[in-house]
Structure formats: structure tokens, C-alpha cells
């Protein structure tokens, strides 16, 4: 098994030796990851491993400072762009905790966001009526009640409704690279199925998805092409979907030993999953 899954497909996202910090605290310490069109990658790891930071740095959260390395998005330097520009050219971040914005109608928010993306692609912007037709059709992707369009953005939505609203945004924005940060957290099994079904429907040979997750259960519903284990701000191991199953069985204890070994200290060999060859 090789981490290059579709060697002939164009590279959409290339992360090279990425270092980033928040409030002068280094969090990412040399992340390398290449994602090609048509691929679904999963990044797993414990709390504090840096996986959520990776998603925020990629989306351009201003609280994070990139201190080294590079990120190329379809060959362009992504890190030079504002968050809004990244969204317009096709990068999407599905939030772990979608923000409630009382007083801003969900429909209007979705329309403004969709039009920002359409404008960038040279498509005609949609007026309120034309947009309603588009959004009602897309609601089916996440089986969402149209009543949610008339409410304020995420206000009073349950955890599951918020995550469905995230996937609805993904369906409308048609991203090239979608990063879903803990989209499975706080979902019951039915909501998880709906959300995962939405992601699967939106996957195509032309786009790619990066799933940030804690648990294997999401990967039962969305089959990843590659799984990466993050720890202490870098990707410690990469492999196929079997790696997620291994993690489910053996937990993350081996990670500490692996980290210690990498730091050059003597440590007993962990009961780790078999190393997988990484190209």
C-alpha cells in the first residue's frame, strides 16, 4: 500500500514541512501531506495532537501564525491568501463548533457565501429567488428541513443540525478541497449516517476531502484512501484504511513510544501497528 493512491491525478493540496504556532506556542512541527484529486484522506490523533490546528491553519485562521514550510493549493501559495479568498477559490472548512449568529438569516448567509464563490468562478450571482431554488434542491443532500433556512445561522440548532448545515454549505460551495474538522463529534448514529452520506455524495474524481477525526466510526461510513496519525504536531505514520482499524484496536499508546524514539531516547518497542510503507 502506498500513500500515493492516484499517482496520475493532479495534486490539489501539497503541505510541506508546515510549522505553525498560536500565541508563540509551537503546535505544528513539520507536517507533510499531499492530496490528489479524487482522494479522501483522514487525519487521526489524540486531543492536542495538532489536527484541529492543521485545519485552521489551512483555512487561514488569524490566531495562528505559520512559522515555516509551505502549502500549495493547485500549485499556488495558499498561505498568502485571506480566509475569504481561500474559500472563494475552493477550500472549505467544516467547523467542529459551527458559530451561532443570531439575527443573520441562514438563507441570506448561504446566499452571500454561495455568490462569493460563484463570482470567483465567473458564474452569475444568484438573486434571492434563484438561490431559493438551488438551496432547496441541495437540502436533500443532508435531508434538512427547509424551516432551517428561515432561522438565524445555527441559532438554537442541535449539534446534528449544525453539522448538517455545514455539509449543506459544502454542497452549495462545491469546494475543490474540503476539510471536515471533527464533523462526527456530538452526532448520534442517525445524524452521522446522514452527514457521512452527504460527504460521500459530494465526493468526485475532481475534488478531495480531508477528514479530521478522533474515532474510527466515521471511517466506517466514509472510506478513506489514506489514513494519517498525527502526534505532537506532525504526521507520525500514514497508511491505508486498515491503519484506522489498527488504531481502534490498539489505541494511541504506541504513539508515545514512537515519539520518544524519534526524539532519540531509548524506549521499549511499542505494540504498534505494523509500519506501513509510505512513498
Amino acid at each position: 500500500m502506498s500513500a500515493v493512491i492516484r499517482p496520475d491525478a493532479p495534486v490539489l493540496l501539497e503541505i510541506r514541512d508546515l510549522h505553525a504556532s498560536v500565541e508563540n506556542q509551537p503546535i505544528l512541527k513539520g507536517v507533510n501531506l499531499t492530496i490528489r484529486a479524487g482522494e479522501i484522506h483522514a487525519v487521526m490523533g489524540r486531543n492536542g495532537s495538532g489536527k484541529s490546528t492543521l485545519s485552521k491553519v489551512l483555512a487561514g485562521h488569524p490566531a495562528y501564525t505559520v512559522t515555516g514550510g509551505s502549502v500549495l493549493y493547485r500549485g499556488e501559495n495558499l498561505l498568502d491568501l485571506d480566509p475569504e479568498q481561500r474559500s472563494r477559490i475552493g477550500l472549505f472548512l467544516g467547523f467542529q463548533y459551527p458559530v451561532e449568529i443570531p439575527g443573520v438569516s441562514n438563507l441570506e448567509f448561504l446566499r452571500v457565501a454561495t455568490n462569493a464563490r460563484r463570482k470567483e468562478r465567473g458564474d452569475e450571482e444568484l438573486d434571492t429567488f434563484a438561490f431559493e431554488d438551488v438551496v432547496r434542491e441541495r437540502l436533500s443532500v443532508v435531508q434538512m428541513d427547509p424551516a432551517f433556512l428561515d432561522r438565524s445561522v445555527n441559532e438554537g440548532f442541535s449539534g446534528g443540525e449544525k453539522k448538517r448545515n455545514e455539509i449543506l454549505q459544502m454542497a452549495l460551495l462545491e469546494p475543490v478541497v474540503a476539510i471536515l474538522d471533527e464533523t462526527d463529534s456530538g452526532l448520534d448514529i442517525d445524524a452521522l449516517r446522514i452527514v457521512a452520506g452527504g460527504v460521500n455524495q459530494l465526493s468526485s474524481p475532481d475534488n478531495s476531502t480531508l477528514l479530521i477525526t478522533h474515532y474510527q466510526r466515521l471511517l466506517d461510513l466514509i472510506t478513506p484512501d489514506a489514513v494519517h496519525v498525527m502526534a505532537a504536531g506532525r504526521i507520525l505514520r500514514s497508511g491505508g484504511k486498515d491503519l484506522a482499524l489498527e488504531l481502534e484496536r490498539s489505541g494511541y499508546e504506541w504513539v508515545d513510544a514512537e515519539l520518544a524514539r524519534l526524539d532519540g531516547e531509548a524506549a521499549p518497542q511499542p505494540a504498534a501497528p505494523q509500519p506501513l510503507e509510505v512513498a
Binding site: 487561514g60 475569504e84 467547523f95 439575527g103 470567483e120
Partner: protein, 385 residues
């Protein structure tokens, strides 16, 4: 019914200092910042208003509401019937000698006294101004008979670009079980000032909701003052003021419970940008006889600039022992997570900040009477933001 103005614009002369003229109109010197109620608001700014009248009748007792179309259930009173209750709400709420009220009286206000019976629906009261610079004053008395209902909207607005002082004094007498939803949507500009008193007497079982919104004035002062004369009434006060540039907005509210079982729900919001200044002082008096009063007051300010200034103060005087009185004040900036969320959806930073301001304001604006929608209150408040 209306006294001739004690001082006419002509008598004042165009060269007379405006402050002296205003003091003469009011029959009292302007309050200074040495007085606690005016500590943060300097009326010396009114010196920029030229002496003279900006009412359509230019200071003459001509009735600007002669052709007013009133809904069924609302009748206009004149003569002794009109004067019977005039001034009683001002006196009951202790503001009949306030300087802005005296100025209003001295400036020869246009007077409208309305009696409301049954469910009268909604009314938007026109407040006409002329294009002249100077002072324009209105005095309104609303008497809601027991069980009556009304939605009333006032939209005081200065003539574009003109240096005007708008003086609005509204008195309200709510009979038992009467219900008034009052909205004041006051969009000004930097050359204009607004002095606004709202004095309300509430009988038991009555409900008052007053929503006072202002933005853009060089100086705006709102004084909603409510007395629950037997307690056992409901009062809901909502305020929203926005300042930018070097504007000042000041709300001094006052609520007193003269009987048990009264309720107050008060929310005051402010948005302060530029070098603007926002003042809120919320007085609530709960004397010994006002047992089982339930009062909640919250002041929330959105601070958008490090040059803007906020002064906010609850002023609770509670003597009764069996009461619930809560108060709180928050001052915050736009939340970076909310901004990032919007930006990550392709919405540029300025638009995102505007959306979040709208969201902050929406909580108060949605409480305006339905007739306010015609005026697009959000746009009025935020302009292009």
C-alpha cells in the same frame, strides 16, 4: 391650548448666542457636567444650533397634525378635556422640571392629545420639520383607556444636513389592562441633536413595551421614565443606540414601582465606533410597598474602536425585601470566531463585521412596531455597514 413662545427667534436675533437663547426658552440655565445626571453629556454642544425655530410653522402655534388620519378607536382631544391629564406623567415620574422638558415647553411645542379606546391597531405619528435651522419641539399625550391597545411609531428625523435640535416629549397614561407597544426610530446626523423624554404612568394590569432606537446624532439623549402606580403591571424597555465619529448618545432610564407585583424587563444595547461616546444609566426604584417586584436589567455594548468610550451604570434602589432584581452589563468586541466563520465562507472582513453588527442590533430592532419595517431600521441604523 398653546402658549405663544416666550422668546421668538426674531427677538433672539441671529447674532445672539444660541445657548443663552436656549436657556431663556427653558427658563433655566443649561445643566452642566457638574450635575450627576449630566456628568457625561455636555449640552454645551448645543451652541452649534442656530437660534430660531425649525418647526414648519416657524414658532407660531399652527397645528402640524390638522390633517392627521387616526385609526378607529383613537380620537384627538382638544380644550379642557385635553389638558386634564397633561403633565401628570411628567410630574409622576419626577421629570417635569428637567431641563429638556422645560425647553420643550418653552419652545412652543406642537401639541397632540390622543384618547385610545378598544383595540386601535397601529399608528405612525408624523413629526414634521422644516428645512430651517434651529429648534423644533413636539409634545404628545396618549391616554389609553382601560383595556385599550395601540402600536405607536415615532420617527423623529432632522432635515438633511441642517443644524437642528429636535425636542420630543411624550406622555402616556395607561389605564388598567391597557397595552401600548411604542417604538421610536430616531435616525439623525452629526449636525443635529435630539432631546427625548418619554414619561409613562401605568395602572395595574397594563403593559408597556417601549423600544427606543437612535443612531447618527451629534448628540442624542433619551429619558424613558415609567411609574407603575399600583405595581402589578408589566414594563419592557428596549434601547439601542449607535455612535460613530464624535457622536454622543445617552440613555437615562427611570422605573419606579409604587405597588407590589410589578415586572420590568429592560435590555439596553449600544454600538460604539470611531471616537463615539455611549452613556447608559438605568435607575430602578423598588420602595418598601413594592413587594414581589421582578426586575431585570441588562446593558450590552459592542465596542468597535479603541477610541470609543462607554459609560454604563445600573442604579438600583431597593428597599422592599421580597424582590427579584437582576442587573448586568457587558462590553465586548466583535468575536473573532464569528468573524472567522463568516470569512471562511468567502465573506470579506468588512461585510462580515457588518453582518455581526446587524445581528447584535437585530435583538432590539425586531421589537419595534411592525410599521417600522417600512423605514428599513437596519439600514437606517447602520448605513452602509
Amino acid at each position: 391650548m398653546l402658549a405663544a413662545p416666550a422668546v421668538t427667534a426674531a427677538a433672539a436675533g441671529s447674532g445672539a448666542p444660541a445657548l443663552a437663547w436656549l436657556a431663556e426658552l427653558a427658563g433655566a440655565p443649561l445643566p452642566t457636567r457638574r450635575e450627576e445626571d449630566w456628568r457625561f453629556t455636555d449640552l454645551a454642544a448645543l451652541a452649534a444650533i442656530p437660534a430660531g425655530f425649525a418647526s414648519p410653522a416657524a414658532g407660531q402655534p399652527v397645528d402640524p397634525w390638522s390633517g392627521l388620519n387616526l385609526p378607529a378607536g383613537v380620537t384627538r382631544l382638544t380644550g379642557p378635556a385635553a389638558e386634564a391629564q397633561l403633565g401628570t406623567a411628567l410630574a409622576a415620574s419626577g421629570c417635569d422640571q428637567h431641563w429638556p422638558v422645560r425647553l420643550n415647553g418653552g419652545a412652543c411645542p406642537a401639541l397632540l392629545v390622543l384618547k385610545v379606546e378598544g383595540d386601535a391597531g397601529s399608528l405612525e405619528l408624523p413629526l414634521p420639520v422644516s428645512a430651517a435651522e434651529g429648534v423644533v419641539a413636539w409634545r404628545l399625550l396618549l391616554v389609553l383607556e382601560p383595556g385599550a391597545r395601540l402600536e405607536l411609531l415615532q420617527v423623529p428625523a432632522p432635515a438633511p444636513g441642517q443644524r437642528q435640535l429636535l425636542s420630543l416629549v411624550s406622555e402616556v397614561v395607561l389605564g388598567a389592562g391597557a397595552r401600548l407597544q411604542l417604538g421610536c426610530l430616531a435616525q439623525g446626523h452629526t449636525h443635529a441633536a435630539l432631546l427625548h423624554h418619554l414619561a409613562v404612568r401605568q395602572a395595574s394590569g397594563s403593559e408597556l413595551q417601549a423600544t427606543l432606537v437612535s443612531s447618527g446624532w451629534g448628540l442624542a439623549r433619551h429619558e424613558p421614565r415609567v411609574v407603575q402606580e399600583q405595581g402589578a403591571a408589566r414594563t419592557r424597555l428596549l434601547g439601542l443606540q449607535r455612535v460613530d465619529g464624535r457622536q454622543l448618545a445617552d440613555t437615562h432610564s427611570f422605573v419606579r414601582f409604587d405597588g407590589p407585583d410589578g415586572e420590568l424587563d429592560q435590555l439596553h444595547k449600544a454600538v460604539a465606533d470611531g471616537s463615539g461616546r455611549s452613556v447608559f444609566n438605568g435607575a430602578v426604584q423598588v420602595p418598601r410597598l413594592a413587594q414581589r417586584t421582578n426586575a431585570a436589567q441588562l446593558s450590552r455594548t459592542l465596542l468597535l474602536s479603541d477610541r470609543a468610550r462607554i459609560d454604563t451604570k445600573p442604579q438600583l434602589e431597593i428597599v422592599a425585601d421580597d424582590v427579584k432584581c437582576a442587573h448586568g452589563a457587558t462590553v465586548s468586541q466583535l468575536q473573532s470566531e464569528e468573524l472567522f466563520y463568516l470569512r471562511s465562507r468567502g465573506i470579506d472582513a468588512a461585510t462580515a463585521a457588518g453582518l455581526l453588527q446587524r445581528a447584535f442590533c437585530h435583538e432590539v430592532l425586531r421589537e419595534l412596531p411592525a410599521a417600522a419595517h417600512r423605514h428599513d431600521p437596519l439600514t437606517a441604523l447602520l448605513g452602509a455597514a
